[in-house]
């Protein structure tokens, strides 16, 4: 299969302003994992990084913001053309890192 064919079959979305290529059907978490981006969110209390963990929608650790909508499970949501995905801070209501909640 030529490179151009593969490209046309791929979907392209944005993560933190960076263009990410995904294969059709691939989850956001898998597409990002393939580009070595494993930290998907920062927790509310400790401002600790979290990412893909259970891979089946049980643990809720891979939460990201998709097209402005927070708390999307990156392991379940398939990547789609033109999607804008951002890192989630805390519960998704905060635009930037918080933490220090201890």
């Amino acid at each position: 299969m030529s490179t151009s064919t593969v490209r046309s079959e791929n979907v392209e979305f944005e993560f933190e302003g960076q263009k990410i290529l995904a294969r059709p059907g691939q989850s956001i978490a898998a597409a990002l994992w393939a580009t070595q981006q494993t930290a998907l969110r920062t927790t509310a209390r400790d401002a600790a990084p979290r990412g893909y963990f259970c891979g089946m929608g049980i643990c809720f650790d891979c939460l990201v913001t998709v097209d402005g909508r927070p708390n999307c499970q990156a392991c379940l949501v398939p990547a789609a053309d033109g999607m804008v995905v951002t890192h989630q801070y805390g519960n998704g209501a905060d635009p930037e890192p918080t933490g220090g909640g201890r």
């Binding site: 930290a39 509310a44 990084p49 259970c54 643990c59």
Partner: protein
């Protein structure tokens, strides 16, 4: 009873409404068995395609053709019965009301489905007890690694370590090796001599035992180091996993920290067996019984898989983890039970058809008990967390906060939840409560019976206010609703 024709305005006895929740091996086998007996059934599943976790349908088209496997066969049978089997993919079960009546949330919003017979086949998830560094990105479950490889077409890492206990680690290690991932090793808490004592049970099924030996041989042939009697004590890194600390452990899985050493990897896959999902059974009001498996509770059933609630049945790993082969057989058994209850087959025919299934299940059960005895978490496992280790991943509750609450008299899951917020996040305690129960037992605070099962509440999956209002797309108010069916203020 829900089958009252006058109340529902229909002849329920003639066309029973049958619903199966979960399209893994148990759910698929149940539906196929019912369809074969001439009954129509609706199968509800969270995923886009039937298969469950074990037979997950590839999300991306595999680059190399896959060998046909059992899951593909079951999917094909399901499709062959499409006149009788309706699959509702991408539907989450939100709540179960008496009746039973199910609230489902799918791509087109909410729907209510009523059932005369409801079969719960929710499956299981991996047991990972807290240890220092377990929340770092790069630490995942073996199942999550398998999903990346088999369903998503992504290598889970360049250099990967597998750790925990049980044959699943070998299966995943081989899958990773096949796609060219460097597997740094398999760290298993069991010692070879532990397995020796379970040989009498394991010999109950020579075929499965041979399969186990084949896995070990495959791992050896692949040059993957298999380190038995060892345990991962911590994961370390800045912002993501950089290295793992491994130590030899004794028969109680207590590590010898003096002999620990670091292993540099970019991914750690860690799992110590599986926790049956009892959330659905609990919402349906089914009686649960304590077991010594991770998680601690399974639904009580009769020999056909019917729970304490008439018309609610359960099969597969959610009814007690025993793997895909057992799940499929249990699904067939439940299918026969339901068909007989509906009058689609005579009870004598159900008994006759069930006999060979039960025989096989009995044989597999002995093998499974041997495996369970081996894999049953030992005390050392719940001592891995140090005082600052986050135990509840959602609410970031640390070990010292939990221990303080225990010292102050919280000795049940319910009181720990009230005292610390443990289990109040979106996972509802699925991740942390099995380990917390274990901790309470190991500290001698309480028995499993007194600690009680985790209390799951609707909605079982977090919903947005928009979804609750039925106008998901238009809603601008998209807060995560935590454990409350209505969008009231947080407690």
């Amino acid at each position: 009873m829900s089958s009252n024709p006058q109340a529902t305005g229909r002849a329920a006895a003639e066309t029973p409404r049958l619903v199966v929740v979960g399209a893994g091996p148990a759910g698929m086998a149940t539906a196929i068995t019912l369809a074969e007996r001439g009954l129509s059934v609706t199968v509800v599943d969270q995923n886009p395609h039937p298969g469950g976790q074990i037979y997950r349908f590839p999300a991306v088209t595999p680059k190399t053709p896959q060998t046909p496997e059992r899951g593909a066969m079951l999917r094909q049978h399901l499709a062959e019965h499409s006149e009788r089997i309706t699959v509702l993919p991408e539907h989450n079960l939100v709540d179960i009301h008496p009746g039973p009546r199910l609230s489902l949330c799918g791509p087109d919003g909410f729907r209510i489905v009523e059932a005369d017979h409801l079969v719960l086949a929710p499956g299981a998830y991996e047991y990972v007890p807290p240890f220092p560094g377990w929340t770092l990105p790069g630490v995942i479950t073996p199942g999550a690694a398998q999903q990346l490889v088999k369903s998503q077409g992504v290598a889970p890492g360049r250099r990967v370590l597998l750790a925990g206990t049980g044959p699943f680690l070998l299966v995943v290690a081989l899958a990773l090796h096949e796609v060219g991932v460097q597997v740094a090793g398999i760290i298993d808490t069991l010692r070879r001599r532990d397995a020796f004592w379970q040989l009498p049970s394991l010999l109950a099924d020579g075929k499965l035992l041979k399969q186990g030996f084949d896995y070990v041989a495959g791992v050896s042939k692949a040059g993957i180091p298999l380190m038995t009697g060892h345990i991962v004590t911590r994961a370390e890194g800045h912002g993501r996993l950089e290295q793992v600390v491994v130590a030899p452990c004794d028969g109680d899985w207590v590590p010898d920290h003096n002999r620990s050493r670091p292993v540099v990897v970019d991914t750690l896959c860690v799992g110590y067996g599986f926790v049956p999902r009892v959330d659905l059974a609990q919402l349906a009001g089914c009686e649960l019984a304590p077991t010594n498996l991770p998680g601690g509770w399974i639904p009580v059933t009769d020999p056909w898989g019917q729970t304490s609630v008439p018309g609610v049945w359960t099969a597969g790993d959610g009814a007690g983890v025993a793997g895909a082969i057992v799940a499929e057989l249990a699904g067939q058994l439940v299918g026969l039970g339901v068909a007989s209850s509906c009058g689609a087959i005579e009870s004598s025919e159900a008994e006759r058809s069930a006999e060979p299934i039960r025989e096989r299940l009995h044989q597999l059960g002995r093998f499974r008990r041997g495996l369970d005895e081996l894999g049953w978490p030992r005390p050392g496992l719940s001592q891995l967390a140090d005082e600052s280790t986050v135990v509840c991943r959602c609410e970031e509750i640390r070990r010292d906060e939990i221990d303080a609450a225990i010292s102050a008299g919280s000795t049940t899951l319910r009181s720990l939840k009230v005292a610390t917020r443990l289990g109040m996040g979106p996972c509802q305690g699925r991740m942390c409560q099995p380990a917390c129960s274990r901790r309470l037992i190991d500290l001698g605070c309480n028995t499993l019976e007194e600690i009680g099962p985790p209390a799951f509440r609707p909605p079982l999956v977090p919903l947005t206010l928009g979804q609750l209002a039925g106008n998901d797309e238009e809603s601008e108010d998209l807060e995560l609703v935590e454990n409350t069916p209505h969008a009231g203020p947080a407690p």
